[in-house]
Symmetry: C2
Subunit: 245 residues, 2 copies
């Protein structure tokens, strides 16, 4: 019987032995027309709660399909608790941010609207699809939560004080990001990446006045917003996340 365990699907249904999981139309199309799989083939399933499961395609019709969950392959394990807050950028860049943030292990991806953000609408459905695809391919056990865009002042008003924000912006006396992250206590954190045009001074003042703000410098070169996001996430992962073990 054909085995395609590298094919991993994120599903929302609970996974227990013998459960039949309905596929979305996109998943049916992907399995049937892109991968050319058929009933009987084994794939991997995960839902972010019940670990990774071996599944077998029970039905794969033109419009619908079902996978039977056979047995658990890996137990669910805790994921790093790091949020990525970033001002939306043009389409290619924002798609890349969602994809790479998911691969690198972010738990939340949250678009933040700022004064100099020149993107009016964010397609969070498309970002979610990118994040799911990257999670499937990277063998993650969960999918990052893509939140609806929020204005910066509103974000700060409801901010949980026990989650420091690593603020990546051009700030004169900011410390290098590695020192900033090394000095953080263990626990949840967030990374804030400004828009390509930079934060407005009033915004920066507002953020840096918060006790949980930690201004950080990403080296002597100017990074594009998406590169800054990858670099900050990586630095957190290697120093405080699950890359350190």
């Amino acid at each position: 019987m054909a085995l395609s365990l590298r094919t991993r699907l994120y599903v929302s249904a609970p996974l227990t032995a013998g459960a039949f999981v309905d596929l979305t139309p996109e998943q049916v199309h992907y399995l049937r027309n892109v991968l050319r799989l058929s009933a009987g083939v084994e794939v991997a399933l995960f839902n972010g709660k019940d670990g990774e499961w071996l599944g077998r395609i029970a039905e794969l019709g033109k419009d619908k399909g079902q996978i039977e969950a056979i047995r658990q392959l890996r137990e669910q394990r805790g994921a790093p608790d790091i949020w990525l807050l970033f001002a939306p950028i043009k389409r290619q860049g924002i798609d890349l941010v969602a994809e790479k943030a998911s691969e690198l292990g972010a738990s939340v991806i949250w678009p933040i609207m700022t004064r100099h953000t020149d993107v009016a609408r964010v397609n969070t459905e498309r970002l979610t699809a990118n994040a799911i695809e990257a999670a499937e391919q990277s063998e993650r056990m969960e999918v990052p939560e893509v939140r609806e865009p929020v204005d910066l002042p509103k974000l700060l008003d409801g901010w949980p004080a026990d989650r420091p924000i690593i603020v990546c912006a051009e700030i004169g006396d900011a410390s290098p990001i590695a020192s900033v992250i090394q000095a953080l206590p263990a626990g949840p954190a967030a990374i804030l990446i400004g828009p390509e045009g930079g934060f407005a001074q009033s915004e920066l003042d507002m953020v840096l006045a918060r006790p949980y703000a930690r201004p950080a410098r990403l080296g002597p070169r100017i990074l594009r917003a998406e590169t800054a996001a990858f670099a900050a996430l990586t630095t957190w992962m290697v120093l405080k996340g699950d890359w350190a073990n």
Copy 2:
């Protein structure tokens, strides 16, 4: 007089006060048709040797143009000495690697052919163009050298023994990349990223038998080749490169 100092151009000619620098046809097109600049406008110039210069467009015709070097803005400074060796991947990925490696500060970008590399030809001219554009935008003072592709065995035969290679591959007992990099002496280093299909076992044995090889693990998730390249470069920069200061 209009000033467009954020417009930075990489040129190959020496930069001294009063020197006239010929523009390439691509630069003429970019300044004239994309940015719509004209004679008299000031831009920044760098050539990787003489620092950054203030220049003034002396002539900008349909097919040719010249910029006069006025005065030095910044002295040339030493750049981090980190080479990125990577197995070529599909076009979109390889372009992104050249762009981001340049932004992040790599000094050499070197495509390495391996058994499981399924890309037969590498357009190093296009990679160079990407690296130059990223260097111009990131305010770098030099452009990474893009080398012609070489087979892995040949690469190792001529390898300078004082340059450790951080080998990013799925290797059972590799240490976390942050520990590997922290343990390196100060000085030159290289990062080797395997192909999407992984190294052949014989290749891995060949690399790891060298005394300068340092196997490193990039966390518990599976990263795409380009993501692994960004992450490894970032980790080196924050721990050993010029992001630490």
